[in-house]
């Protein structure tokens, strides 16, 4: 048999002295790394993706997953993955796929931004003693309000408010479809969203009937595949999102292979069992901004103008002008996904080389909408590589209304960002449809963890606001005066609209 010349990335090792032959590693590994020889566990290290499921479930701490110490000869130009990918392509002729956001060492601008704090002249506020408000509303905001005098002489609101999505904190869960993630993973998100007073997003895979009860905490998505879209679906949540693009794979479509379309997924997506679910690169009825406008208003008609319509795009070079067009086309929310945003499956060449970072994109979009005097017309959601509450605070200060969390939410479910979601073997039961794997993810148990993490981030955000001497998140939103750049060049500072530290 031809033996692959693609070097394994990892070296799985078992300490045979410690091992008690319980075979749990064999059961737990979604990638079949381990097998039973009759008297001990055998290892096929070529299959190991370092998801660390086995490590956590080995009762004897007998397992070690090391980075393969065998590397190609060091070369500053020809890195390990450059050589490895070519070897892989030589063997398969295919496009290497990957999952999660780009792991390439592009500079992360968040790590060059620092937040202000109060000293003496303006007191900081203790969030444990004083109210600290994170509530956020997504949707179109009229430029001004009109009141009229009521019979009792009091002011009565005359303006009719457009529909808003109320969030108790400026976080939402990023769209992840049933199909790309398991139903249990979606349920985990739905339970947590409800408990937290925020929203999850169905992604493009339709809405499974088990998720319908969470309708007050759901945004339903309409993407190019139009999976599961019907009038009930459009009205099943608090908002509708049109997906134009995704940060990890701007400009390309999606492909969920037939093996991942069992009965339940097929039903939810409204397609035959076992057929490939293809999301075309463009939406076939949107070839220009006027077409987008028609779809936005078609959806508004179908939902009786009672739900905000969001448009999700990938952050690309011209994102400011595109976002402005989207707002003028009637969108109530613009969701911008930076190039580091996650994915269930994308060609690595696309994921790692197309798009722009979310930091630049949000700054440019917020600036443009303000210059055009239409910033109030739509809320902005920032997504794509938000790793902590500090990243969230920074991107809100740059101009985002709320932040979408995908990868961080999955990490609470066990994900270790191994990046092999596209295989459908996720040992944590997240990005797989195999019943023996998905059963591991108990929504009741894991939603607790997700809620904990969002609570922790909210507390941290409140601490940041308190240190800034403000007690409402709207006073941070777009307040770039409270950010400083460290080690950034003049042009980057200019794009971000911030001063360098020391000024």
């Amino acid at each position: 048999m031809f033996r692959s010349l693609v070097l394994p990335e990892f070296l799985a090792k078992i300490d045979q002295v410690k091992c008690i032959r319980c075979k749990r590693c064999i059961q737990n590994c979604g990638w079949s790394v381990y097998s039973w020889s009759g008297d001990k566990v055998l290892i096929d290290t070529f299959k190991c993706v370092k998801c660390l499921r086995c490590y956590h479930y080995c009762p004897e701490e007998a397992i070690a997953i090391l980075d393969n110490p065998v590397r190609y000869r060091n070369n500053a130009n020809w890195g390990f993955y450059n050589i490895r990918n070519i070897k892989k392509q030589a063997e398969t002729g295919g496009i290497p796929l990957t999952g999660m956001g780009s792991d390439m060492p592009y500079p992360v601008l968040f790590d060059s931004l620092l937040i202000d704090a109060c000293q003496v002249t303006n007191p900081s506020i203790d969030p444990l003693r004083e109210p600290m408000e994170l509530r956020t509303y997504l949707g179109k905001k009229p430029a001004k309000l009109e009141f009229e005098k009521g019979k009792d002489g009091k002011q009565k609101l005359k303006t009719k408010m457009p529909p808003q999505i109320k969030l108790e904190m400026p976080f939402i869960f990023a769209p992840m479809s049933y199909g790309s993630i398991s139903l249990n993973a979606q349920k985990t998100l739905a339970i947590a969203a409800k408990e937290l007073g925020i929203v999850m997003n169905t992604g493009e895979g339709g809405l499974h009937e088990d998720i319908y009860p969470y309708r007050d905490n759901i945004i339903v998505q309409v993407a190019s595949g139009r999976f599961g879209v019907n009038p009930d679906y459009l009205n099943a949540g608090v908002g509708v999102e049109i997906k134009i693009g995704q940060g990890a794979k701007p400009g390309i479509g999606g492909h969920l292979p037939g093996e991942k379309i069992p009965l339940d997924v097929a039903k939810t997506r409204m397609i035959p069992i076992g057929t490939d679910a293809l999301s075309p690169a463009p939406q076939h009825d949107i070839y220009s901004i006027e077409d987008l406008r028609q779809l936005i208003f078609a959806i508004k008609e179908a939902t009786d103008y009672a739900k905000p319509v969001s448009v999700k795009i990938a952050a690309v070079h011209n994102v400011a002008a595109i976002a402005s067009g989207i707002v003028r086309a009637g969108a109530d929310i613009v969701y911008i996904d930076g190039f580091r945003g996650g994915t269930g499956a994308a060609p690595s060449i696309i994921r790692d080389h197309l798009g722009i970072p979310i930091e630049h994109a949000i700054a440019a979009v917020d600036d443009r909408l303000r210059q055009e005097g239409i910033r109030n017309e739509a809320s902005i959601i920032a997504a794509g590589g938000i790793r902590s509450s500090a990243d969230a605070a920074k991107v809100i200060a740059l101009g985002a209304d709320a932040v979408a969390l995908g990868t961080s939410a999955l990490i609470t479910m066990g994900c270790t960002v191994c990046g092999k979601c596209y295989t459908g073997n996720c040992s944590w039961g997240i990005t797989t449809q195999k019943p023996e794997l998905t059963v591991r993810l108990d929504p009741e148990v894991y939603s607790e963890r997700l809620i904990n993490m969002i609570h922790a981030w909210s507390h941290e955000l409140k601490e940041i606001l308190g240190a800034l001497g403000i007690n409402a998140v709207e006073s941070l939103r777009g307040s770039r005066e409270r950010l400083r750049g460290v080690g950034l060049d003049a042009q980057t500072l200019d794009i971000l609209g911030i001063k360098p530290a020391g000024r």
């Binding site: 002249t121 303006n122 609101l157 109030n376 001497g469 941070l476 777009g478």
Partner: protein, 361 residues
Amino acid sequence: MSHNFQKDISGCGLIGIINKDRTRISGSFVTKSLCLMRDRGNGLGAGYAAYGVYPKYKDLYAFHIMYDEPSAQRDTEEYLKKNYYIEKKEPMPTAPVEGIKIHPILYRYFVKPLSEKAERESAELEDDDFVVKTVMKINSEIDGAYVFSSGKDMAVFKGVGMPGEIARFFRIDEYEGYIWTGHTRFPTNTPGWWGGAHPFTLLDWSIVHNGEISSYGINKRYLEMYGYKLTLLTDTEVVAYLFDLLVRRHGLDVLTACTALAAPFWKNVDTMHDEEKEAMTALRVIYGSALLNGPFSILFGHKNGLVGFNDRIKLRPLVAATKGKTVYMASEESAIREICPSPEKIWSPRAGEPVIVELES
């Protein structure tokens, strides 16, 4: 001089007096009260606003302008001549004061936009909007010129010095008005620029302010979306412009505007009855970027009255008192008692709750 100095950070003392029946009083009262709050100022800025001081010219805009250079005056006047009917132009009346060695060139003009609108720039604008545009233009485009008062029948006097010195310099005891506000400053940096003193004004809005607006960054960007040019990098400027936007341009009443700027907490909104809750929610949702956050007490004067208000958790002091038809507001009770020893009522307004006093019509 560049007006682009560092953000204004200061502690301050405030005083405001309003006679609801429009009885005019001399500026010397305000000075007396302000001079008492010695710890609250360090001589780096003081100022006064007075309403009802120019009855003879009450239909004209009174522009008070300071110039660093004669060339700035020339450029400004050239622009004014092209666009305004100028009834009167004169140097600000001043008196020599020992503590004030240098001061900018100070002029006042009683003007109105040319009525033949075609003759002036931006003919489509109403008079008030045109005056706002003029103020923004002079302050941001003519280097060394700064309009520090632009309302009708009202005046601002301000500069670098102790409150007593500034009062004597501008001879404010010779003016009589029915609303007065005063301000003494304790800046922690020393810009030493006359325009940086309070009050800040636009049209007949005047603001004196103690504290720091920690939400300055977003308030500024919000105002810029509506064409305001924030040239001074001081946070007080945003308050004046926010009132102009919310009250004059958006048509909110003063109480609603104050409620937008120092909004009630969500936990209070949530317990309101339906209609009020809906209105309050809308107010916060729409005017979130106008929310003033950070420690402040503010006195806001306008042609129909005087408003005092605090930040949402009252991080800076404000005391109010009444006697007959007069209402006093100040940073300290002592400053009120200095000029009104036995008020009928004296109280500390609660956080975020404005004290709104209107003139009798």
